[in-house]
Symmetry: C3
Subunit: 440 residues, 3 copies
């Protein structure tokens, strides 16, 4: 038997359940940190990730030009609260870091209830949840609060404090690279700028870290680049730093919201039919779930930057429930109960399947193309073993032989036959082993 390019992965997935637990456990560790686009939260997060994987940390000084943007000031948040006239805390940053609008400017003032309400964002239709809000590029001081709690406040004077600071410093992001046999790269990117939101995006950060760790055990054709960067500005910083090497990005996925049981959802790259698009559509079609495949649109996560017309990289977006479509989205309900190890494990599996396709795909040429070769004489009917597996294996061999004219890669054969890539790849390996196939 030839080497099975999928083998190493199978080994380190010996216990799929363990992987789900490991991702969940890392997500739990990341959850409490108050991240924003800059500042200590991002660095703490990178610090935790670097205990799992080798991480190169980059610091981009405030004011650095990043295409049409500049690296923003660094945000420090120390404390925040609102006290009523009796000195009782009616809101406390210590209870939830969502209580402060992310990147909020400092504030310390006494004010009437009416005045206070101008500084508080709530969700009247989800009255018990704290909303997640940001104000990165317009300076603002604000709190976020459950609508029911705001409504319960009585008239009177309140004291409000946001002990934050916006000062020159730097923008942080982390990068991990797994070197493969070629310098063609698969980019995997997760945003690191959201505070205590479990699905969006502790799940993505943790899942990518575990994939990076798994790849360590594996010799790969592609190099894999993992990017943990704040949304928009972090992606732009990375693009600016790597502009002359972007032609190496052969495939890419932005990963977020991968811990809930919805979807799966894949949004195609701007190109629409990039290899990663076809691979993900194939993988999701074979999950047994009901995937949603979306055409590219210019709203979402950092695929917006990677797929801007000046770059047009082959990068899609992978999610379970699509952002904005689940009620927990951008609220305090996106917590550690909302994500589950089993879903994290399934999401991990889907990305790994896409990696398998990228790794194992090739374009064969049938060395006996006139009529079918006599498989029986080579023991290839037997070789694929009994019953249904055998039939699938034989069909896969017939498909591979028939399409191996040098014009069809294995993924193309899988698409055309409706069979799983894994079956097709296995058949092609067997046929090559028996001298019936060669590289096209």
């Amino acid at each position: 038997m030839l080497e099975d390019p999928l083998q190493p992965r199978r080994l380190d997935e010996a216990s799929a359940a363990e992987i789900g637990e490991a991702i969940y456990s890392l997500a739990c560790e990341l959850y409490p940190i108050c991240r924003s686009i800059t500042g200590r939260g991002v660095r703490e997060t990178l610090e935790i990730l670097s205990r799992r994987i080798d991480l190169t940390r980059h610091e981009v000084p405030t004011g650095t030009a990043l295409f049409d943007w500049t690296a923003p000031k660094e945000w420090t948040i120390r404390d925040a609260w609102i006290k009523d006239a009796s000195g009782r805390n009616v809101l406390d940053f210590a209870a939830s870091n969502l209580h402060v609008m992310s990147y909020s400017a400092p504030l310390h003032a006494r004010m009437s209830l009416d005045e206070l309400k101008k500084h508080v964002v709530t969700l009247p239709e989800q009255p018990d949840l704290i909303p997640y809000r940001t104000s990165y590029y317009a300076e603002r001081s604000a709190f976020c609060m459950a609508h029911s709690e705001l409504s319960a406040l009585s008239e009177g004077e309140y004291e409000a404090l946001i002990d934050s600071e916006l000062a020159d410093g730097s923008l942080s992001y982390g990068e991990h690279v797994h070197r493969g046999r070629t310098d063609q790269e698969f980019l995997l990117s997760a945003h690191i700028c959201h505070p205590s939101l479990a699905n969006d995006n502790c799940s993505g950060l943790a899942l990518l870290a575990l994939i990076a760790r798994a790849l360590k055990e594996r010799e790969t054709r592609y190099s894999y680049r993992f990017l943990f960067a704040p949304g928009t500005i972090g992606a732009l910083a990375w693009l600016a730093a790597n502009e002359d090497r972007l032609s190496r990005i052969a495939h890419g996925l932005v990963v977020s919201c991968v811990g809930d049981g919805g979807g799966p959802t894949y949004k195609r790259s701007r190109r629409g039919d990039a290899f990663i698009d076809r691979a993900m559509v194939h993988v999701l079609a074979h999950t047994g779930l009901k995937p949603t495949i979306l055409d590219f649109s210019p709203y979402g996560y950092d695929e917006r930057q990677f797929c801007s017309p000046g770059f047009d990289l082959p990068v899609g977006l992978f999610q379970r429930s699509a952002f904005g479509t689940f009620p927990e989205y951008h609220t305090s309900a996106d917590n550690l109960d909302f994500i589950r190890p089993m879903h994290l494990q399934a999401s991990y599996r889907m990305i790994m399947d896409a990696i398998d396709i990228v790794e194992a795909n090739w374009t064969p040429r049938n060395l006996s193309p006139k009529g079918e070769p006599q498989l029986g004489r080579r023991g290839l009917y037997a070789a694929v073993g009994g019953d249904k597996t055998g039939v699938a294996g034989m069909m896969a061999m017939l498909w591979v032989l028939n399409l191996a004219d040098g014009e069809h890669c294995l993924l193309n054969m899988a698409e055309r036959s409706g069979m799983a890539f894994r079956e097709i790849e296995k058949a092609a390996r067997l046929l090559r082993e028996h001298g019936l196939l060669a590289d096209a």
Copy 2:
């Protein structure tokens, strides 16, 4: 703000209802006239139209070669009736000009009821309606009558008169041209050969006249050519006279049956994907109605001639209910009650929207194509204003920026985003104003 190319139209539509009334009123004026492919009825119709718009009238002498055809004789109809033995009129041309088969040869004879019936066409399945029938290219003398009235006639002798004349003369048609900045033309054509049928095609004649009047107020990129000509032979006459200038026809619409509440219906040009096809499909998809889009077929109105293989012009057919699909079609029930100002106004709006697309379409190039430009810093989030409108405006800007690689025109962006052309065009204008777009 840059000039809004759609602005002038909006002004003269200040009162949409008034336009519906104005079209209806003109249709009412045209309705009583007994038109045919040649003769006084066509000239009277052109005379009425020329009170609204500048009209160039053409007269093509009988016998003039028009490709495979020749200009036919001119038809004059003065009177027609059938009298029973007692001298009582049982059919009178004065009551309805549908009573005489269009282009009927003269007749004066006494005959039995059985003999008479050979000269009368009825609609047994719509017994109270008078059919509309023609016999242009085979000489025939005949009446059209409600089946119930024919059935009520008793045995006996009848006297039948068709006081008509077929003699050398000329074929008449009218043309109005609105000059634009270029000599590329948008052809708008309506047939003028049907007698008292309101939808087919007083509605089309009146609607085009009002569009011509509206364009007068507007400086346009394209020149607009309005053709009011008898079906088939009139279109052929115009084609023969303009054969060497047909390459100027960039877009075209044949317009008929635009006063009822059905459809809307668009039949694609023979090319199938001409710009006018895409524009009309887009406009109709955004009406909120349930449009029917038909592929080209070689039966219908003058698109048959414009789309014959020797010309293959980019001309489609616009209707509300498609011809032949409504029970009033080609009967006396296609009267002034069947068409309504509100439907005429809506049809006017659809054609004007297509004109807007043709006028305002361009292909932009993103001047900041690497990542998204920072819209917030330019006040462009604010600029598009509050809430849902704001979201749509922002999405439109993101779509335009993302697709502005010089390969996509605004209509293409509208198609791909699913947004209305108007939203896309507005976003592109705003972005150009802020220096983010240039001509590709």
Copy 3:
């Protein structure tokens, strides 16, 4: 009128019912023979066919290299039975030739019931049917039996005999060629290796023989090659013998299971859009039945060989019920009651319709392409006669004239108009007769 290329066929189909009966009758004659991939059964079948049509018989010596295969030994089967201890026959080859696994090696032994069962194949889920099984390329001795009969056997000793022989000899196949005006060929192929199975494939053999006989009366553009060969190895033998002439194969159909009332089913050639694919899709769409059109897959009959990547011939598969989808498939229930003259006749009609398209297709050029030519003046409205037929005829003429730009063949016009090829072809003939069309 120009010569009607479809006329001769209509003549010899004067009585469609007779043709169904004739095919059925020939199928009945072929049914009892015990065919396998080699041996007397194939020769007897060719003998019967050669009484209907001129047949060239080929004998390929055992051991001849056929691409990746070699011609197998010749199989002779004389007798087979199983007797119980009392000497009573519990299975007898004389009762059904399905009782012996096709190509079974000789056997003569006494054995216990348990031992015997290892040599018997049954269908537990269809207990009263004898399965059809083969073992061509792995030497094996086995019986096939109704499961109910095997279950009824009591313990005890049994004597089992398969009086067969596998010896050097030859592989036989037959070929009939109808010469047309060109040496471009239409290949029609049916497998000849199945024993007493009526639908699979006595129906196909008989139907092709009757088509060959019908073509004898007809002067054709294409040459028609009929191949009656054992599955896989026979097709390979023919391909090996004709490798340098395969470029002549312009169209091809593999024909099997054409006597039941299911389907019709057409599986496209590997090319997917070969002319034969389009012709068959068109024919089946106009049957009034609910056809199933399948994309190519590399499992089935000899299209597997013809469409292997080294040949990639434009050959599809025509069936009524698709193989493997009806319960009678590969059992003793696929008998002469399962196939019906009316279905055979309908299948014959479908193939003949495809032949008509192949024969009568051409690409016209409109000699009066500017506007519509005046059909009335040429009597062409009248020429197509009254009412609905007339309307269809006129529509067909308008379609042909409109699409006759030299880019569209008649089949393409039929596809685009949704009209039957027959109507389009008739209209084109009429228009050519009137000088309005010429060859493109």
